[in-house]
Amino acid sequence: MIDNNQLLRFTTAGSVDDGKSTLIGRLLYDSKAIFEDQLDAVTATSRRKGHDGVDLALFTDGLRDEREQGITIDVAYRYFTTPKRKFIIADTPGHIQYTRNMVTGASTANAALILIDARHGVIEQTKRHAFIASLLQIPHVIVCVNKMDLVGYSETVYNDIVSQFEEFSSKLYVKDVRSLPMSALDGDNVVNRSENMDWYQGAPLLHTLETLHISSDLNKIDARFPVQTVLRPQREGFIDYRGYAGRLASGILRPGDDVTVLPSGFNSKIKTIDTDKGSLSEAYAPMSISVTLEHDIDVSRGDMIVKVKNQPKPMQEFDAMLCWLHNDAAKPRAKYTIVHTSNEQKAMLKNIVYKIDINSYARIEDDTSLHMNEIARVTVKTTRPLMIDEYRDNRVTGSFILIDDTTHETVAAGMIV
């Protein structure tokens, strides 16, 4: 494999009926990510279930309960590689009760595939998926109008669906939306070009995934370096070494940069940027590095090193879009632990501003409850200021989770607005 190939993470949203599993099976199969023993097992199961040929959807079968019930319960991760890129698929269930899984899969994705059954067009579920892609700020959305074989490969049907999608998605914030007609079952426009749809001039799905411009998906402007841990080797040659270890969330850092350590506000200069292979002349997101500073100042886990002239806002009260992830509903004014980068504080849900009906995008203003799989705009108050950016500008420093202190469960995911 070529050394400079990039990694692209994408999420697939759709129900069993949209052909999501078949599409993933097709991508894995046509890109030769399926081994003979897997193929043998799936062929045998297909025969036992009475299918003609190989049921591609079986390649994505997971846990015993999922196989028995024919559903996806949890996010499953799949991998395949082409000569151009390595891909990670976050395969998420599409049913309404699984919003939490879709949000999870979407949180790190470069791209989202939204599947639409050509026979049914845009349905509630499509709107839900588009909403979540927009909420989680997935940079690229690819609308896959599937099962074109069942509508006679009709260009009119396809165009109608695309305009339906464009109409409602104009209310959303997605940077790059594209669409294509396909039949995952027969492999039309998945890896190979369709011979049944001459009217479609665009590229098949895999080519699109291989060539999406993802280098600028990460924010390279605002340097944000959350400190994970402090390295103090205390051994020969490194007696006075104090390295601040972390993964650069965004931006670029170089030795000599004037920096501020937050929240203390002390200024210093970057002395070195180290890895086990030597010191670097610059580092950029998402590199894991260790940084030393010119001055001996107190820095610890939860602090953030930023450039003097480009700082996040220290805020103790802010609004966020919050997705509730747990069976126990949100408790107004109850205290939770908030985890934001490597920083942990206590937080309180001060106010539920409005909830969102993710099917109609309507705001529900007078409901102060917040249950599993619901999304709301909330006001959060924390015990100490957090160094935040808006999620739209920075997916790392604009996001947080809430943990229930009595159960230690992750109960909510927030995106700062």
Binding site: M1, D3, N4, N5, Q6, L7, F35, D37, D61, G62, L63, R64, D65, R67, I73, D74, V75, A76, Y77, R78, Y79, T81, R85, K86, V103, T104, S107, T108, I214, S215, K220, Q228, T229, L231, R232, P233, R235, G237, F238, G246, R247, D274, D276, P286, M287, S288, S290, R301, L325, V339, T341, S342, R395, V396, S399, I401, I403, H408, E409, T410
Partner: protein, 301 residues
């Protein structure tokens, strides 16, 4: 700005280092589960990078079935020496002697499932609150559902339907006393990624991975190495073949394949044209469609 992106191996490396540092920051007494296989060797090397210039801050924990390749044990001891880390051993043989577990009986008896009790005992007696493993999501369908930080209850059990959601890269390692976590820093690596990285970084691996002459018998579609623990069955005959191992585990159940690949470069080429999955030669996974899921639920690696 186009030069400011990482290639896929650098991105995987950076992610793994991030996870290892989170483990160190969030837990009191984490260990690396070390089997002597390439994945746990890789995790150990990534730990060295994550904390350089400090030493690796984790002990290595080896669950020893007593059915080892001598090469694996030698390799383990050399690595412990080189990195200056502590070695903890959980012994299946001792667990049998103490009556904690009983040997399986019958033709396909192995000590594979006996490792579960031994592992959980070792975790408990050493007060381990996080065991770092080399598990990868591409290995097996139950592993495809694993989190980076995977919660285990008081009994060491995994509940795949009730896992904590893991969003962005925020990892929640909070737990009550008696519970522990498993951490999987190379979750997103495939077998091919592991080999490409080992080649790129020139990481030493046990010679068993390279093609070599060895006495073996043909059983369950692979070449099982002859050892003091192997009982020949009727009709089986010992042959000397040039083989290598694609995965390493208990010597009684790890099958080799015929190969001429005696350098890392040749292994990478060979693996890239493999037609069978990596665990296809592991008789432990052949027992049923959900063999791995069942073992994992009970507390397996």
């Amino acid at each position: 700005m186009s030069k400011y992106y990482l290639n896929y191996l650098d991105e995987l490396e950076s992610e793994a280092i991030y996870i290892l540092r989170e483990v160190w920051a969030q837990f009191e007494n984490p260990v690396i589960l070390f089997s002597g296989g390439k994945d746990s060797i890789l995790v150990t090397h990534l730990a060295k990078k994550a904390f350089y210039p400090s030493k690796i801050p984790f002990a290595l924990m080896h669950v020893d079935t007593g059915h080892n390749f001598p090469e694996t044990i030698q390799f383990r001891d050399d690595l412990v020496e080189e990195f200056g880390v502590q070695l903890l051993v959980g012994s299946v043989q001792e667990a049998i002697d103490k009556g904690r577990v009983a040997e399986e009986k019958g033709k396909n008896a192995t000590r594979n499932t006996l490792q579960i009790t031994t592992l959980l005992d070792a975790i408990e007696t050493n007060n381990v609150d996080c065991a770092i493993g080399g598990g990868r999501r591409d290995e097996e369908k139950a592993r495809a559902k694993e989190r980076f930080f995977s919660h285990r209850d008081d009994f060491g059990q995994w509940d795949p339907k009730n896992q904590r959601p893991e969003l962005w890269n925020i990892l929640n390692g909070k737990h009550f006393e008696g519970e522990h976590f498993r951490a999987f820093p190379i979750s997103n690596w495939t077998e091919m990624d592991v080999w490409n990285y080992i080649l790129r970084e020139n990481i030493a691996i046990p010679s068993l991975y390279l093609a070599h002459q060895r006495d073996v018998v043909w059983r369950s579609n692979s070449w099982i190495p002859v050892s003091e623990h192997l009982k020949l069955e009727e009709g089986e005959k010992v042959e000397n073949r040039k083989i290598r191992f694609r995965t390493l585990g208990d010597i009684t159940i790890t099958g080799g394949m015929e190969s001429e690949a005696d350098t890392l470069e040749k292994i990478v080429t060979e693996v890239s044209s493999m037609k069978q999955t990596e665990r296809g030669n592991r008789t432990d996974d052949k027992r049923s469609e959900s063999a791995m899921e069942d073992r994992k639920r009970q507390g397996y690696f």
